[in-house]
């Protein structure tokens, strides 16, 4: 951007990539994947009091092909995980993932036979939001943080680490203590 702020300079020299990133970060289209409690807080964030539209991310689309941000809000069970993985695969590049809440980040308090221990076992995640559920301010902060990642101000940590389908299957299976030691 020009340092000259008197209005005389009307040309903003900018790389095309920067311009695209600027456009992308301010028009994120989230796909809300709200399965449980976090879905209700996601609704709070989208609704009148917190109003996610202030950050350009209010155009909620339920079709993965129209979205660039997958917002996983809630517990993902092993029964649900193939569905979530399919949805992730259907989204077009570039795409980002936010794991909202403890369950989607790590399984949370549900360390049980039917719950996937964090969606990062089956897909790369850009931002984790702690909380059970996170308060709307927390979710808004994560969107702002993601905007910095898109902008290039913060490096994206999962580049080059695409989880394959086989790895995803492996992650879901039960390992005995001795298997891990071997």
């Amino acid at each position: 951007m020009s340092d000259n702020k008197n209005g005389s300079s009307m040309v903003y020299p900018m790389l095309l990539a920067d311009a695209v990133a600027w456009a992308r970060k301010n028009s994120l289209w989230p796909m809300p994947y709200g399965t449980s409690c976090c879905g209700i807080e996601l609704m709070s964030t989208l609704s009148s009091t917190y109003d996610l539209a202030r950050f350009g991310a209010e155009v909620v689309r339920f079709s993965p092909r129209q979205c660039d941000l997958l917002l996983v809000a809630g517990t993902i069970t092993t029964k649900m995980s193939p569905v979530l993985r399919t949805i992730y695969d259907q989204m077009l590049e570039p795409k980002w993932v936010i794991a909202m809440g403890a369950c989607s980040s790590s399984g949370g308090i549900f360390d049980t036979y039917s719950v996937l221990q964090g969606i990062d076992e089956i897909m790369p995640v850009d931002v984790y939001v702690p909380g059970c559920p996170p308060i709307p301010e927390g979710l808004i902060y994560s969107i702002l943080y993601l905007q910095k990642i898109i902008d290039g101000k913060i490096p994206r940590n999962n580049i080059g680490r695409r989880i394959t389908h086989e790895e995803a299957m492996q992650a879901m299976s039960f390992r005995q203590e001795k298997d891990i030691l071997d």
Partner: protein, 593 residues
């Protein structure tokens, strides 16, 4: 209260006259009668045929028509060897409860009661899924919570709680009956979409049976619901619902965590009204312990229950309208939900997952200025409801979309074990707050709201009026609440004050013991039900002593309502299916547990 207690007492006396007291041993030929911690009768039948005779007998009993199946579940009696199947039945006319039990050995086939109670269908499937108990003559005995390919039965005591199993793809739903082997046992269904509609014919536009899959990720499906419909044009000819996409093993966690630790899981059952679940669960454990709360704690708890009823109904009505395109209602009503959240945050520090109640008391007293906030909320809520009625109740589009849609007669509703607003919208006059009162509900004035048609419009009206009644109740509570203690005076369960924990050695040890070891609950069992926002929410706890429950069963209204939706969806249009699903208010956390 005297009314329902005397009826239950008379019923118990009648049973005592017929059956001997004591617990049945396997192989015994006599029926045995027991009473639980709440003095509710438990009748042991000696075999499957006897159970059917008993159920038929009580169903058609001239004085007590026990023809409503509240719950059907099971528990492990003796690790590896035997199970007990539990049938919880209720009389809608006299409000008495009876629990029938059947002791079986592993591998024994139990007769299915679906011919007597239509609502037993999914419950029996759940028992089969979780315990591996086979029900003979069941119409469609498949797994319900877990995937078809899952191996093992998770609620058995020998199943490791962390034993996960991966699945490569989503489960297929078969629209047909499952095959059986030569011994009459049901085999797992093959993975095929339908037997009668070959794959290629699905692309034929004139094919009268096209399959349409809604969910589990679908804009109009709440949370994780999935419905597979066979449609002819716009009309649904046949529907299969698939729950279990949010099965988080909360019941199994109840067996591995102490009573205190399990509080956090109650929040995540019906997350739209977490306060109500906390209190219902606390009440269930207190009933087992035989505690009586001080007055102020009871008033605060009742306040919380009514407040959560309002916010639950708010979200149900708002989302139902949102699904049909009425966005304004959602934005307008959500503001009042946020007001309630702010109050709840002041009470316990959390907006959604509250964990407010404790066994024998409450975590905090009301904050300063609560009554002012509540008065403001009550006034604003009534105004918001008026606004909503202006926008919806006489709105031509709303009426056209909801009137006569998803009709459910009173008879159907009772047969399918509907509860709460859905049952009352069909014209059945049952409300546990009035019929089996708990806390001080018999001392306050409120009207039980009933409608007559049982369609989506009537459910909306019932919910709206119930919110007004809840506001009326909140104002009465506010007038009657007095300062006082919020904990029972019992050092065994009372959590010490933090200031004492930090300054006194004995209190510190006591605090450590309560949290590290847990409260010792005496052996026994109790079924405690409250009238939750969605209907009858019950906790059936079996204790064998010690700080952990032997079996912790949650009777959730959503489970029955989802089953009811499956059975009544045939004949409706696709857009109507969305409004019906919204109107019965299925909360996935409570449905799948």
């Amino acid at each position: 209260m005297a009314n329902f207690l005397s009826k239950q007492e008379a019923f118990n006396e009648m049973l005592k006259g017929h059956y001997a007291l004591g617990m049945i041993e396997s192989g015994s030929e006599k029926r045995q009668l027991e009473f639980d911690a709440l003095n509710e009768p438990i009748l042991w039948s000696h075999n499957g045929a006897d159970l059917m005779t008993l159920l038929k007998g009580f169903r058609g009993h001239p004085n007590y028509k026990l023809d409503y199946l509240t719950d059907l579940t099971a528990y492990v009696h003796d690790v590896h060897h035997s199970f007990v199947v539990v049938y919880q039945i209720y009389s809608p006319s006299t409000h008495v409860r009876l629990r029938l039990k059947l002791l079986i050995r592993e591998g024994e086939v139990v007769p299915s009661v679906t011919s007597l109670f239509a609502s037993a269908d999914w419950n029996e499937r759940e028992v089969y899924d979780m315990f591996g108990i086979v029900f003979g003559n069941h119409p469609d005995l498949r797994r319900i919570m877990m995937d078809e390919r899952f191996v093992g039965h998770p609620l058995r005591k020998d199943y490791d709680i962390k034993q996960r199993m991966p699945f490569p793809d989503n489960i297929m739903i078969s629209m047909d009956r499952c095959p059986t082997n030569e011994r009459g046992e049901f085999l797992p269904c093959e993975n095929k979409e339908s037997n009668s509609a070959p794959r290629e014919s699905l692309f034929d536009v004139y094919n009268p049976s096209v399959l349409l899959n809604l969910g589990p990720s679908h804009p109009a499906m709440h949370g994780t619901l999935r419905v597979m419909c066979r449609i002819n044009g716009e009309t649904i000819e046949d529907a299969k619902c698939e729950p279990g996409y949010l099965h988080r093993a909360i019941e199994k966690l109840g067996e591995t965590n102490t009573y205190h630790q399990w509080f956090v899981y109650t929040d995540r059952l019906n997350y739209c009204s977490a306060l109500n679940n906390n209190i219902a669960y606390a009440m269930a454990v207190e009933n087992l312990l035989g505690l009586t709360l001080p007055e102020r704690a009871v008033w605060i708890r009742m306040m919380c229950m009514e407040l959560s009823r309002i916010i639950d109904h708010l979200i149900c009505v708002a989302i139902n309208a949102l699904d049909m395109g009425a966005m304004t209602i959602f934005w307008h009503l959500y503001r009042w939900r946020e007001e309630a959240y702010t109050m709840i945050e002041g009470m316990c520090g959390m907006r959604l997952t509250t964990t407010y109640a404790r066994i024998g008391g409450l975590s905090y007293d009301l904050y300063e200025g609560f009554h002012k906030d509540l008065a403001h909320f009550c006034d604003g809520m009534l105004r918001a409801l008026d606004d909503m009625e202006v926008m919806l109740t006489r709105n031509r589009i709303w009426i056209d979309r909801t009137k006569g849609v998803g009709k459910l007669s009173a008879k159907q509703a009772l047969a399918l074990s509907a509860t709460g607003p859905v049952l009352r919208a069909s014209g059945v006059d049952i409300d546990l707050r009035r019929d089996r009162p708990y806390y001080f509900y018999e001392d306050v004035d409120f009207d039980v709201v009933i409608a007559s048609n049982g369609d989506v419009f009537d459910r909306y009206l019932v919910r709206t009026e119930e919110m007004r009644q809840s506001v009326r109740l909140l104002r009465q509570f506010q007038a009657r609440i007095k300062p006082g203690p919020i904990w029972v005076d019992n050092p065994q369960v009372r959590i010490p004050e933090k200031i004492d924990v930090y300054t006194k050695m004995e209190v510190l040890i006591h605090h450590f013991k309560i949290f590290m070891e847990g409260i010792d609950v005496p052996p026994g069992e109790a079924y405690t039900a409250v009238e939750g926002p969605n209907g009858e929410l019950g906790f059936y706890i079996i204790s064998r002593g010690g700080p952990k429950a032997w079996r912790l069963r949650i009777k959730s209204p959503s489970f029955m309502h989802y089953q009811l939706t499956e059975k009544t969806l045939a004949g409706e249009r696709i857009p109507d299916a969305i409004s019906i699903l919204g109107s019965v208010n299925i909360v996935a956390g409570e449905l799948d547990r």
